[in-house]
């Protein structure tokens, strides 16, 4: 993963939120590394990546943020099904952004929308690079998880 690709991916993902509410742009918090059980919020938009590395990228969000995005899109229903649909939409955005940023050498899985309990059943990479995103009073985490092995060389 080249730094330019990483920067492009992060920028276009933040741009997505900035376009949703131009008056209130997202703020990137101080990044950190997390080891062990993943940091998870209510819903997770996830894609798996394989190429130069193997791993995944996910955006994990609180219900409040998804409800806000639904409202911005004119949808006042915020049932769990609606929230999961919104989470799926964000997965599609992540997938598109990853394709654009990381180029043709990467295989990107079908984007997935998962509840917290569903993600907990997955075998996610134990070491993650976490970027908090503060937006309209909510905090999401944009996470890159790479696996150890030859892919991480």
């Amino acid at each position: 993963m080249k730094v330019e690709q990483f920067q492009l991916f992060r920028r276009i993902t933040l741009d997505y939120f900035a376009k949703l509410a131009p008056e209130e742009e997202p703020v990137l918090g101080e990044p950190h590394m997390h080891f062990g059980d993943p940091e998870l919020l209510d819903y997770t938009s996830l894609i798996e990546i394989e190429g130069e590395y193997r791993g995944c990228i996910y955006l994990t969000s609180p219900s409040g943020m998804l409800k806000d995005v639904l409202l911005i899109n004119g949808e006042s229903n915020d049932t769990p099904a609606h929230l999961k649909d919104m989470c799926q939409e964000l997965s599609n955005v992540l997938s598109g952004n990853a394709s654009k940023a990381f180029g043709g050498n990467w295989r990107i899985s079908v984007p997935r929308s998962l509840t917290r309990s569903e993600v907990e059943t997955l075998d996610l990479p134990p070491s993650t690079f976490v970027m908090p995103i503060h937006w309209r009073g909510n905090n999401s985490l944009l996470v890159v998880g790479l696996r150890n092995g030859r892919e991480a060389a």
């Binding site: 993963m1 730094v3 990483f6 920067q7 918090g29 101080e30 990044p31 950190h32 590394m33 997390h34 080891f35 062990g36 998870l40 919020l41 209510d42 609180p62 219900s63 409040g64 917290r116 990479p125 134990p126 070491s127 690079f129 908090p132 503060h134 009073g137 909510n138 905090n139 985490l141 890159v144 790479l146 696996r147 150890n148 991480a152 060389a153």
Partner: protein, 232 residues
Amino acid sequence: MSVLPHSVYRRTAAAPPAGTRLRALEWALYFAVSGTHTAAELARQMRASDAERDGAFARLVTLGLIEEQELDAGEYVRALAAAGNSDEKTLGEFVTGALRPEEKEASPKLVTSSPQAENRIHTRPALAFKPLPRPDDPMKEKRPMKVSRKLSLRALMNLIERQAGNRDAGQLDIYRVFVRVDTSLLKRNGIETLRFTEDRFINDPELERAIVRSVKKTLGMDCPESLWVEVA
């Protein structure tokens, strides 16, 4: 609830329940607490006032989202130093200086017999501090402190960032180094979350070897001696 500036908090095991709504500062502090930085440091980083800081920490504690981390004496003194202001103090004032003005005022008043003595006391607020009794053998106090050399993660991360040329590239390189380190080794040394600006001294020789090996394998770089610092 009173929040001392040098208190250190960590997230509780319980995740925020679905539907939890917090103010932006509260979320920011929730994600920032990791048992390594004082309340004052985090509040400074978020540019929060004392009142905002106290309110946010109190609410997070009340909601059961964070809890205060217990410290040993050395950690406590480091926390005081990290939280405090830069005014010159005596040792006694330093160690008790974290008391807030209102707490100082609430400390026991001295009973005086003359107005002059009372004036003297009022110019310097009484501190609720009793010196420890003298040790039986004063010479024990003069023994040299044990010093050991430990790998400083901050020194390592600074070096990698400098080599990479820019912050993003450096942070990615640091992450790639840690991807190769067994997370169970990190966790057994209490490293579950690591910010790129924080310091940890590695006590565990196995973890130290794993990190040094990964730096070599990932970045082709030998760790210079300057990454080891003397720690009392």
